[in-house]
Amino acid sequence: MISSMDRLAAAARGEVLDHIPVFCNMFDQGARELGIPIEQYVSNGEYVAEAQLRMLKKYGHDNVWSLFYVGKEAELLGCKKIRFAKDGPPNVEDYVIKDFSDIEKLKVPDDITTHPAFAESLKCLNILRREVGGKTPICAYLTASMSLPAILMGMEKWLELLMLGSSDLRDLLLEKCSDFFRKEIEAYRKAGADIFVYSDPYGSTDIIPMSLFRDLSLKWMKRDLEPGGVDGVVYYVGGARLNPVADMVIRELGIGTFYPGPMDDIAETMRILDNRALCAAVINDIRLIDWTPEQVRAEVKRILHSGLNIGKKLFFGTVVMPFEIPDENIHAMIDAAKKYGSAAGFEA
C-alpha cells in the first residue's frame, strides 16, 4: 500500500504514484474535531496529536502537524500571555520585547527541550511518531531568525528597528533569534519531525526590499540552517510571494522544497525552480469559507494543472486553513487535489 511518505519521496523525484501528496494545514480545526475550546485543545499535546490523527483519518490527506500555535515560540523565549479566540488562532498578547532595551535582556534557553512550553510539543510528537512515524510526514513549524522578532515585539516595532533603528541592536536580536532557531530545529529533528517548515515572511520581497533580502535575510538564513543542513526544510514566506527570491534561495542555500503564497503564479514558480526543487501548489484558503464545493474543485483543478503542466515535482498545499471553512469544502478540496493530482486526472 502506498504511504504518504512514499508519495512525498516520489514527488521529490518528479514522479507521481497514485496522486501527488496533499498537504493540509489544519490547526484550530482540531479543537472542533475533539469538541473542546481552542484554549483547552492547545493546552495538551495528547489533544493535538489525537486531533491530527483523527483529521488524517477523516479527510485522508498526507501530513500531520506538531504545531499548536505560532506563539509557542514566543513562550519559549519568555512570553507570558497568549490571547485565545473561540474561532481563530491564538496570538501573542504580551510581547517579550516591549522596548528596544529589552533586546539585551532577551535570553535564549540553553536547552529548549526541557522548557515547560516545549513539553507538550514533545508529548504530541511522541504520539505522532508512534502512530504514523515513517508512513506520514510529521511537520514542524519554525520561524526564521529574520521573522521571529515580529512575534517577540510585533511587526510594527520590528519593521521600525529594521528600517530606522540601530544596526548593532538589530544584529544582536537576529543573532539571538538565530541561536534559538538552531536549537529549535535540532530539538524537532531529535523528536522525530520529518518536515521543517522554515517560516520567513521577512524573506519575501512583498515585505522587505530586494536589497535588504540580499544583504540581510540571506545572511541570516545561512546562519540559521548551517549547522543542521537543509534536509527536510521547506521555504515558506507566510503566504506572501516568493517567486522573486526562489532562484537565489536555491543557489545560495540549496533548499529543496518551496511553499509559495497563493498569489504567486504557480506556473512561474515551477519554471523558476526548473526541476531543481519540489514545489507546493497552494490554494487561497481564505476563499474556501465562502466558495461552493464546485468552486473549490475548479480552483484546485486550475492550480494543479498550471503547476503540473510545467513539471511533476509538485504537491498540493494550503496556507493556514481558517477555522470557518465548512467541512464539505475541506472534503471537496482534498478529493479534487487527489483527482487532479493523479496521472489520470491530469490527462482528463
Binding site: A85, P89, M155, E160, M163, T205, D206, N284, I289, E324
Partner: protein
C-alpha cells in the same frame, strides 16, 4: 528643472529607496532655497504619496517596508512643516481608526495613520482590540466622516464583533449617510469581496492606498 521640480524628484527617489535621512535632507535643502513649508507639504509630500498609490495600482512591485517608510517619512516631514506654516492648517476631515475587536496587529494602522496625517486629515487613534461601540461613539463625538477598522486575521476581519458590528450600529443609529466604514488588512487582500460581506463601504489593499480611499469617502460624505 526649477528648484521645486528638483526637490520633488529627489524626494520621490528617496521615498522609493526607503531613505528617510535623504528625504529629510532634501526638504531641508528646499527650505534653504526658499521653498515654502506649504509647498513642501502640498507640492512634494502629498503628490509623493499619490505617486506611491499610482505605482502600486499600476503593479509596480512595492513592498511593506516601502509603505511603512513612505508613511513614516510623509508624517514626519508634514509634522515638521506644520509648525512653520504661515497660517494654521485646515484639516479636511476626521477619521476614527483602530484594529478590530480581538486584533492586536498595529503595523497597518500605523501606515494608514501616517499617510492620513500627511494629507491634513485629523485622526483619532483608538489603538488595538477596539469594541465596535467605541468606534461609533467616538466617531459621533468627533463628528468624523470615516471609521477605519484594521484586521489582520480572518476571525477578526469576519467576526461578529468587528466591522460587522460597526455596520450594525451605524445602521441602527441612522448614521450610515454621515459616517463611512473602511476596512483593511491581510484577509481583505486575499478575498477582495470580503469587505462587502462585513458591511464596509470600501476597503484598501494596503496602508498607503487606504489614505486615497478614505479621502474619497470623506468627499462622499461632504456631498
Amino acid at each position: 528643472m526649477n528648484v521645486l521640480e528638483e526637490i520633488i524628484e529627489s524626494y520621490n527617489k528617496a521615498v522609493f529607496d526607503t531613505d528617510r535621512a535623504t528625504a529629510i535632507q532634501v526638504v531641508a535643502d528646499g527650505l534653504d532655497k526658499g521653498v515654502s513649508p506649504e509647498d513642501i507639504v502640498f507640492k512634494v509630500v502629498i503628490p509623493g504619496l499619490d505617486l506611491m498609490v499610482k505605482a502600486i495600482s499600476e503593479g509596480y512591485d512595492t513592498n511593506l517596508a516601502q509603505h511603512f517608510m513612505t508613511a513614516q517619512i510623509a508624517a514626519d516631514i508634514t509634522e515638521r512643516m506644520l509648525v512653520k506654516f504661515s497660517a494654521p492648517p485646515k484639516y479636511i476631515g476626521h477619521v476614527i481608526f483602530g484594529t478590530a475587536s480581538g486584533d492586536l496587529h498595529t503595523l497597518g494602522k500605523r501606515i494608514v495613520i501616517g499617510c492620513l496625517k500627511a494629507q491634513m486629515i485629523d485622526v483619532t487613534d483608538l489603538g488595538v482590540n477596539v469594541p465596535a461601540e467605541k468606534f461609533v461613539d467616538t466617531a459621533v463625538a468627533c463628528d468624523a466622516q470615516v471609521i477605519g477598522v484594521s484586521a489582520m486575521m480572518v476571525h477578526t476581519a469576519r467576526g461578529e464583533n468587528g466591522a460587522l458590528k460597526v455596520r450594525k450600529l451605524l445602521h441602527e443609529r441612522g448614521l450610515e449617510q454621515r459616517i463611512k466604514l473602511v476596512v483593511g488588512g491581510a484577509p481583505f487582500r486575499y478575498d477582495p469581496e470580503l469587505y462587502k460581506t462585513v458591511g464596509a463601504d470600501a476597503w484598501a489593499e494596503n496602508g498607503v492606498s487606504a489614505s486615497r480611499i478614505i479621502l474619497d469617502c470623506i468627499a462622499e460624505v461632504a456631498r
